[in-house]
Each structure stands twice: as C-alpha cells, then as structure tokens.
C-alpha cells in the first residue's frame, strides 16, 4: 500500500505536471495573437525577461500568415523585374505570392515570413521549400530583389518565383528563426515554435520549468550571462555569425557589417575575457534593441573613462564623452539590403578611409 502510494507520488510529477504545464502553456496561446509558449510559462519567475521578450524582433523572427502586420498594412504590393511581374496580396489571413511573365503565372500561398522589418517569404510548392526571389523592405515600403539573389537571372516563371532551399539551408534558416524546428539534425516543423523563444537559447528550460514547479532548481540551465565575452560572441554568433563562420564563408566587404560578432572581434579593444565588451554588455536580448546613441556611452566609458578599483582603463576620447557610437561605430549601408547597420568594429574612423574588412 505504502509502495503504491509512493509510486503514485512519483508518478504525479510525470503525469500530472505535464498536464498542468500543458494547460499553463495553452491558455495564453488561446488568449494571445502571437504565442510564445515558453516565455509565458517562464514569466512567473523571470518577469523582467519573459514579459518583453515576445515583442522583440528575435521572438518574431518568423511570422505566420494572418499574424503579419507588414502584410496586413500592405494588402497589395507590386514589383517588376525584367520580364517578370510580382504581386503579393493579402486578404484576411491569407497572403499570396504571384509571379507572371504575361504568359505563364505561378501563384503560391506565403507559408511563413522570415524577419520583422525587412522580410523574405518562405514558399512551399510540391513539397519543396523556396526562398522568395523578392522581399519586402521597410525603407522603400515595398518590394525589391531579395538580398543576395541579385545575380540570379531567372529563365522561367518557376525560377523567377524563388530559389529552392536545400535541406541544409532550410535547417539553417529554421534553426535560427524558430525554436524546435530542428531536432537531432532533422527538420521537424511539426514541433516548431515560431521565433526565438526561451528554450531556443536556454536549452533545458522546459525541464527546469517542470522541476521548478516542484521546487527543484538544480536543473536550471546555465546562466548565459556568466559566459566569457568570447563564448558569448560564439553563442550569439550561432545565428548572428561567428568570426570563424564569416571568414569561412568568404563574406567580404560591407555585406559582413550585419555579422556583429565578427565585426566586434575585429575591434582593437575586443578582449574575449573582459566582460565590459561583449554582446550582452551592451544589449539585453530580452529587450528590443535601443537605438539612442547616448544609451551606450556608459558602456564605452566603462573602459575609456576614469579608472575604478579592479579595472584597467583605455585611452580617453579627446573629442567627446557623449554619443561615442555615432563616431566610433558608424552606420554602414548593407549592399542590396535597403538598410544601414551599425558597424560593430569599434575604431577611430578617419575621413576617406574605406570599410575595414
């Protein structure tokens, strides 16, 4: 009898807790337009992080049809490139991507949108995934050729629609823009959560949640903020590209400005063991990026200001002590991207100097 009771107690967390969790997880899903299950489940203990994170561009790195404000705001967009005309139309929860050469027409539903500002669409046709050859860019409030596809010269309407994604490329796209889309090296869209959720970075947080409900906190995932700067660059670089990935991929010229860990590592001041210079020293990944230059002054002055106990100081700027990034981290236009990125290669920028690769 006692053994039976003990068994029941031991089964309780295994059977009931997942049930409770399922309810906790599902209720917010039903209540909110854009669910991020993990964040909402984590909010009870990690309110500061989990409340805002679902609104960040990372959390919305993939948007579902019907939940895409950009497409809703632009119910019909047109674009022409050479012999091909493109139309992206949204009606209700459905968006359709159409390309025609006047004789032949291909029209496919937009399966997913990758990105929140600028966005490229994932198209599905005959069981295969395609990267749309045309994307939306907020700075022109319309369509243009997808960045990186400028050299593609389509010969047919099918080719003009988009480029077929190989399995490896699809895994790479979903691996960064979604959570649980790749399991044990396989694309598992059935288990996919859109965007970057808690579990994406804090692997093991689901198990931690189960344990935490029972008052067990030993299985908490490692605190990422305690990693060394070099490790943080490597961690964030899994999606934002590490120094190594950029070099291996031969991304040279201004196109690599969007790979911040690479640019940061090229900075003379980057020290992989100094917590004052790392991705998270300046950015809180649970918040939207702050675009006010002065916000970052304190980060720069942590090294370039007056010395405090236990810290070393770097040379102070002879020009100014405010808005450091406006000079030392200039904005660089991304070729073909219709947008400018802050160059994370922190440096003294000299007039007439080219982009340091």
């Amino acid at each position: 009898m006692r053994q039976g009771k003990r068994l029941a107690v031991s089964l309780l967390p295994r059977v009931l807790v997942p049930g409770i969790l399922a309810v906790m997880v599902c209720l917010p899903v039903l209540a909110q337009e854009r669910p991020s299950t993990s964040a909402l489940a984590c909010v009870r203990c990690h309110a500061a992080q989990a409340t805002n994170q679902p609104q960040t561009p990372m959390a919305r790195a993939i948007e579902l049809p019907g939940a895409n404000p950009t497409l809703k705001e632009h119910p019909k967009m047109n674009f022409r490139r050479d012999a091909y005309s493109y139309t992206v139309e949204t009606a209700g929860d459905k968006s359709t991507y159409t390309v025609t050469d006047g004789t032949h027409t291909v029209s496919v539903p937009i399966r997913l949108s990758f990105g929140t500002g600028g966005q490229t669409w994932l198209l599905e046709r005959d069981g295969k995934f395609y990267d749309s050859l045309v994307s939306y860019y907020p700075s022109i409030s319309g369509l243009d050729v997808t960045m990186g596809e400028e050299k593609v010269v389509p010969h047919t309407v099918d080719e003009a629609m988009g480029r077929e994604l190989g399995e490896g490329e699809a895994k790479a796209c979903f691996g960064c823009h979604a959570t649980h889309a790749v399991t044990e090296g396989k694309l598992t869209l059935g288990s996919m959560q859109t965007g970057v959720t808690c579990e994406h970075c804090h692997v093991g947080s689901a198990a931690h949640l189960l344990d935490a409900i029972q008052g067990e906190f030993g299985s908490a995932p490692p605190k990422l903020g305690r990693m060394k700067s070099e490790d943080i660059s490597r961690f964030c670089g899994q999606c934002h590209r590490t120094w190594e990935t950029v070099v291996r991929g031969h991304f040279s010229g201004e196109v690599n400005v969007r790979f911040q860990p690479y640019r940061l590592a090229n900075s003379k001041c980057f020290d992989g063991a100094d917590p004052r210079i790392s991705c998270v020293a300046c950015h809180d990944p649970h918040q939207d990026v702050v675009r006010q230059d002065s916000t970052y002054d304190s980060k720069c002055l942590a090294c370039h200001g007056a010395a405090t106990a236990g810290t070393t100081t770097a040379k102070a700027c002879p020009v100014a002590k405010v808005n450091c990034v406006s000079c030392h981290m200039p904005k660089v236009n991304l070729p073909g991207g219709h947008m400018a990125f802050t160059d994370h290669e922190i440096r003294v920028v000299r007039a007439g100097e080219g982009y340091p690769d």
Binding site: E184, G185, W243, V247, F251, V255, A265, G272
Partner: protein, 428 residues
C-alpha cells in the same frame, strides 16, 4: 651615315636571303631552345621594318642585330668546337624521332658523356630509359638533370615514377609532390597519372584522407579499372599498402569498398548506399568500413555520418579515426564536454590520427582548460603552421585567456591563409 647604310644593307640581305638564314639559324635555335626561336622571329620582323624604311625598325633591328649575334656566335662556336658532339645530337634526335629507343639511349649516353652539363641530353636519356622500363638508369639520368635544372618539375615527377617502380616509395612520394609543386603536370592526362601514383603512395604512408582527396577527381570519369578501385578501397579502409602489395584473397573487400566509394565520388550517393550496405552484409567485421562510409557522408549529411561512426565503434571500439570524427561532431554542435572523452581516446592512439590534437585542444578550451588547450594547439601550429583550423582554435583560445594581442595575431593569420586559398564569394 656609313654605319646606317651598312645596317640597311644587312637588313635587305636578311630579308632577301631569309630562307637560307633561317636554315642556318634553325640549328642554332634548336641548340638554344625557344629563346632563340623567338629571337629569330623578332629579328626578321625588325629587319623587314628596316628594309621598308621604318626608323623604329632600324633602331630595333640594330639593337637586335648586335644582341642576337653576340649570343649566337659563341653558341655556334661552342657547338662547332666539338663536331662529334653535334653529330651525336643530330643522330640521337633522329633515332628518337623514329622511335629507335635503344639507339637513341646509346647516342644520348655518349653525348652526355662528352658534355655532362647538357641538361636536355639528360632529360631525353631519362625519359627514354623510363620508356624502356630501365627505371634505375632513368632515375640516375634524371638526377643529373635536376641537379642542372632544379626547378624542372616534370623531371622530379618522372624520377618519382621511376622510384615507385624501383620500390623507393618514400623518395618517390617526395619527388612526385615536388614535381607537382613545380607544375609538372601541365596536361590533364599527366595530371591524372601523377595523381594516381601519388594517391597510392599517400595511402601507403598512412595519409589516407589526402589519398582520398587525390582519388576523388579520378572518379569523375568512367574509368573503373580494378586496381583503381582497390586503391580507393585501401585508402578508405585505412590500410597502408599499395594495390600490388595486397594479398589476392583480400582483394574482394577492398575492391567492393573502392567501388562503393567510386560511386559516391562520382555523384551517385544512392548507388553508393546500396554498395555500402552490401559491403556491410558481406564483410560485417571489416575494420573501417562504416568509418569510410561515414567520412564520405560527413560533409553533406553529418547526422547519417555519425550513425556510421558509432557503428564503427561498436565493431571496433578502439578505432581512433572514428573516435575523432565523433569528437568533431560534438565540437561542431557546441558540445565540447561530450567531445572530450572521444578526443582524448583518439589522441592516445598510436599513431594518433591527424587532427586529434586539434580536436582535443578545442575541446579543452571549450570546457574551461584554456591553458591546456593553448599548449596543445600551439604545438600543433608548429607542426602545421598553415592550418586554418588551428589558427581559428588558437584565436579563440587566446581571446578567452584575455591575450587579445595574440588572439588578434591569430585572426590576422586566419585572414591571410583564407586570402591565399581559392575562394568562392558568399552572398547571403
């Protein structure tokens, strides 16, 4: 004025009597090689311009006239000083042209005895002797040639092929590699021949991965000679033997493995999969068979590859190459802790597979033993100073250790190595 008139007269004479002069200079340009041939052509061109009244032509013709004849006269004088040598050269060339190899060998031997510093003689002698299967003699002649012409790539490579036949395999590999570095194989057919021998020798020396890289382009054609398949099989199953050294009763295994890999390399992964499955059925205990298939799959399908590596470890738990690949797989998935025991096992093998130190170094750095990792990687960088992988790993290790100047230096080295490597620009 008189000199100008004289030069113009000479130019006229040259143009008018060109066929005769060409006949005379033909011998000289043969002796002097292509340089004199080109010289003759220019000489004629400027003579013609001078004859037609061009001032520029006159100046250049005068300059060429002086230079050309200042070179030609001593050359002809030297050749004419020993009429028997000249005669021998002509007779040897004639014998060579009519494919009378024994006669040509005899005459070239006599010619180089008279004139031991005549490189062309040694080259013709060496290549003819190789053709006549006189490998030791050919090797000797080519040694004389490379002493006179140290950057003669084809001679180094041919000497390597002779050494292959005489069984001096270590020197053979060294000479073929040197020949390749000096662009010995300018023609596709020669390149294939060299690749084939080099791949066999690399296999014999235990450099299996490099051997497979050499074999890969040979699998692009339709040639499927059994020895090639056995060669690929030997490299893939990590057996340091030449095909001709393999026992006859062992041939089936290596040929089957080679054939499966040939299909994979020629772009037929489905066919390769079938062949490998048959191989696993017929030879379930074959060492390195699963490893071989896994290593072919790894670049395109690392998950399928890792299954094969683990199968290999079930059959042969001490397989260092498979241990290393499993370690790499974990490292690539940012799971250095899991990689560590595999990398440690791989490095304790004798000999440790190439890359084992790198894998362990990276695993140590990523699991917190930064100093241990730097020591290991530093030693490896001394052995392989141009390895991009090692410099990547060192850059990260130094950065983690707070040695930012060292990290920066390593990163600059990486960029330099990448810059020198053949590249394909990325766009996305």
């Amino acid at each position: 004025m008189f000199v100008l008139l004289w030069i113009k007269a000479v130019a006229k004479l040259v143009v008018v009597t060109a066929p005769r002069i060409r006949g005379i200079l033909g011998d000289a340009s043969t002796l002097g090689g292509r340089g004199l041939g080109v010289g003759w052509w220019r000489f004629m061109r400027f003579a013609e311009l001078t004859y037609r009244g061009s001032r520029a032509g006159l100046f250049r013709f005068s300059l060429f006239f002086l230079l050309f004849f200042s070179l030609l006269v001593p050359a002809r004088a030297a050749a004419q000083s020993d009429p028997s040598f000249d005669d021998l050269v002509q007779k040897a060339a004639a014998a060579r042209e009519r494919d009378d190899v024994p006669q040509a060998v005899e005459l070239y031997s006599e010619a180089v005895r008279l004139k031991p510093d005549w490189p062309d003689g040694w080259w013709f002698l060496g290549s003819l002797q190789y053709e006549a299967n006189s490998y030791s003699a050919s090797q000797d002649a080519l040694t004389h040639y490379v002493e006179l012409v140290p950057d003669g790539g084809p001679a180094w490579a041919l000497r390597g092929l002779c050494e292959f036949e005489t069984g001096d395999y270590t020197q053979s590999l060294a000479d073929i590699e040197r020949g390749e570095s000096l662009r010995a194989a300018s023609q596709s057919r020669d390149e294939k021949v060299l690749r084939y021998y080099e791949a066999q020798l690399l296999t014999r020396s235990g450099r299996f991965e490099r051997a497979l890289q050499k074999y890969a382009p040979l699998a692009q054609g339709t040639v499927r000679n059994p020895e090639l398949l056995v060669g690929i099989g030997l490299a893939g199953l990590r057996t340091p033997l030449l095909p001709k050294e393999l026992r006859v009763d062992k041939t089936d295994l290596f040929k089957a493995a080679g054939h499966a890999a040939f299909l994979f390399m020629s772009g037929n992964p489905e066919g390769a999969q079938r062949e490998f499955q048959e191989l696993f059925q017929h030879f379930p205990a074959a060492e390195n068979a699963h490893y071989f298939y896994g290593s072919l799959l790894f670049p395109t399908d690392p998950d399928a590859a890792i299954i094969e590596f683990n199968r290999e470890l079930e059959i042969n738990p001490s397989n260092a190459a498979a241990q290393l690949m499993v370690a790499w797989n974990f490292i690539m998935r940012n799971n250095a802790a899991e990689a560590l025991p595999y990398a440690t096992n791989a490095i304790s093998a004798d000999p440790a597979p190439p890359g084992a130190r790198l894998a362990l170094g990276r695993a140590l750095v990523e699991t917190g033993d930064v100093k241990g990792g730097i020591d290991l990687l530093g030693k490896e960088s001394q052995i392989e100073p141009d390895s991009l992988e090692i410099h990547f790993a060192l850059a990260e290790a130094y950065s983690k250790a707070g040695r930012k100047d060292d990290a920066r230096r390593e990163r600059m080295l990486c960029l330099q190595i990448e810059k020198n490597a053949p590249r394909q620009a990325a766009s996305r």
